[in-house]
Point group: C2
């Protein structure tokens, strides 16, 4: 009998879901719209139906062990999604309890960056590591920490908001209400803002002068940089410098074995890794230099968010078993 | 039969040692000079003799379960003291193995701030907490993290060097070789430097204008502030602002329940706590505001370093027992 888990990644536009085995093979995947459901109860009905159909379509003997969900502002302890700015449904949604009841199996929720960290540990490049960090570079900058082999959730289930550490208290406006947060500089949006800052400050010609802010994306900046566009190259150097400086601060907090970069900006390869590593090393206290690897995520593919979410179940089952053992012996 | 542990705190000038029960009662304490021993092997002989005498003097039936050592640059994984800048003996000293052999009981080493964190959890104000931070304010600024109920050691055993996060890359020179590290602003030495900066920049009269840098200490600055000295008051405000700003960064990393301040500067009470809390809250992203307590350590007494060191043994024995249980069942 094949043991399987379900992974659900709730984004503002679409919800991806998939069925995954212990080795990280996605045996089924699909998606439904998130944005078109104005009412959460309609969305939940649509999602539950889609998952039920997917399960019914599975061939061979199998057992579904649980459901993992990655979502912005997903709270691990409460099993809720709380006031996510990218979702229409406001308030506190008890999604884990609803999934548990609907499918009669364990359901675990966490934020998407924490799911990425567990995914990296279960299926990706952090297999066997006990202390590492995953930085997700999307619209914003998310982070997930593993310490002593366990996801670091913190007291309130909201650990790992490195995107909202400060680069400059009088700097760029951030969606969180503060100014100068790391994610306003280092993210898909951040590098766009940097390109526009550089175009404003400097006189150099650049192919990016012909592109409107709303049309510009990381891929265009990357391709321009590969073609030698000085503004695009400078934007990567600027982004890597700030990321490197701030990663040096993260390193002295938790002393990780490695930091994995995940998402669009990390696909630019050396353009982002080289300045990041150089400035991280330069800003570390000597005791830490040369010790911490900065690496691309091992889950750089379309299914990564589903893998991250499904990995929560394996991780949960492992932890639950250990707790039960301790109780029996105590 | 009374179960006891030994705690040793190795400072640059003196080494304190004590015998402690599970409730944190120090049943014996003593000290020997650290600085007067030029050779480590002579120091070790002196320390071992002193401890042996203390054990022989104990009344009633007892069992010594282990030895814990707190020392600058103590490495938990290797059981060594490595290149401590405050000690005469250079290189890597395998102190844990030497103590194990000498006394035939487990010996655990960690740095003094990590020992303080475990001490806070075992005997102090963090009893029952699973996620917290201890900040030690002495000559420098040390920090120890507990996450998921475990000391956060990191991959290389050097986690928790928050004293070397950056306040200003072009700021004050630090012993670590960098510039602008947090501990150059927030520590006994840091507030002295701030007083001198303020005396240089401003015209206000201050009783501190009559005191040479080498003679000035935290207690004098505190007493001047209590008497209403504006420079001393401004120095606390400046120190608390920087500490608060940087604690906001620490909070979004690990989401602690509380941050405990320990050591000389923390004894100034409201003078340091009020600006620290105000600026921490102002610099936190809204999601975290009002959630994290900043509190005085519960171990503010002479025996604190001994308690911290001895607590390592209880913590080690608990962890070892859990690991054995898991092995038996696996």
């Amino acid at each position: 009998m094949k043991e399987l888990t379900i992974g659900i990644d709730i984004g503002g536009t679409n919800t991806k879901y998939g069925i995954v085995d212990k080795e990280g093979q996605v045996v089924f995947q699909g998606s439904i719209s998130t944005a078109e459901y104005n009412e959460f109860k309609d969305y939940f009905k649509g999602l539950a139906n889609a998952i039920r159909q997917a399960i019914q379509g599975l061939k061979g003997e199998h057992k579904i062990l649980g459901i993992g969900v990655g979502a912005a502002n997903g709270n691990y302890y409460k099993g809720t999604i709380e006031r996510a700015t990218n979702l229409k449904w406001k308030g506190i949604i008890p999604l884990a309890d609803m999934l548990k009841e609907e499918f009669d199996i364990p359901a675990i929720i966490t934020n998407d960056a924490n799911a990425a960290a567990v995914g990296e540990m279960v299926y990706g490049a952090a297999k066997g590591m006990k202390d590492f960090v995953v930085i997700t570079l999307g619209t914003g900058l998310g982070s997930g920490f593993v310490a002593n082999g366990q996801l670091l959730n913190g007291k309130h289930g909201i650990a790992g908001e490195v995107g909202h550490t400060s680069v400059n208290p009088a700097g760029r406006y951030c969606n969180c209400g503060k100014r100068g947060c790391l994610e306003t500089y280092v993210s898909a949006t951040g590098i766009k803002r940097t390109v526009y800052k550089l175009l404003a400050d400097h006189l150099e010609p650049s192919e990016l002068r012909g592109i409107a802010f709303d049309n510009l994306n990381t891929k265009m900046i990357t391709e321009a940089a590969i073609r030698g566009d000085v503004v695009a190259l400078a934007a990567f150097e600027y982004t890597g410098r700030i990321l490197g400086m701030k990663l040096a601060e993260t390193v002295v907090h938790t002393d990780p074995e490695a930091i994995f970069l995940f998402g669009g900006l990390s696909l630019a390869g050396d353009l982002i890794f080289k300045p990041t590593i150089r400035h991280m090393e330069a800003n570390l206290m000597p005791l830490f230099r040369g010790k911490v690897k900065v690496l691309p995520s091992g889950l750089q593919n379309q299914a990564a968010p589903i893998l991250g979410a499904s990995s929560l179940v394996w991780n949960y089952l492992d932890n639950t078993q250990q707790k039960q053992l301790q109780k029996i012996i105590a």
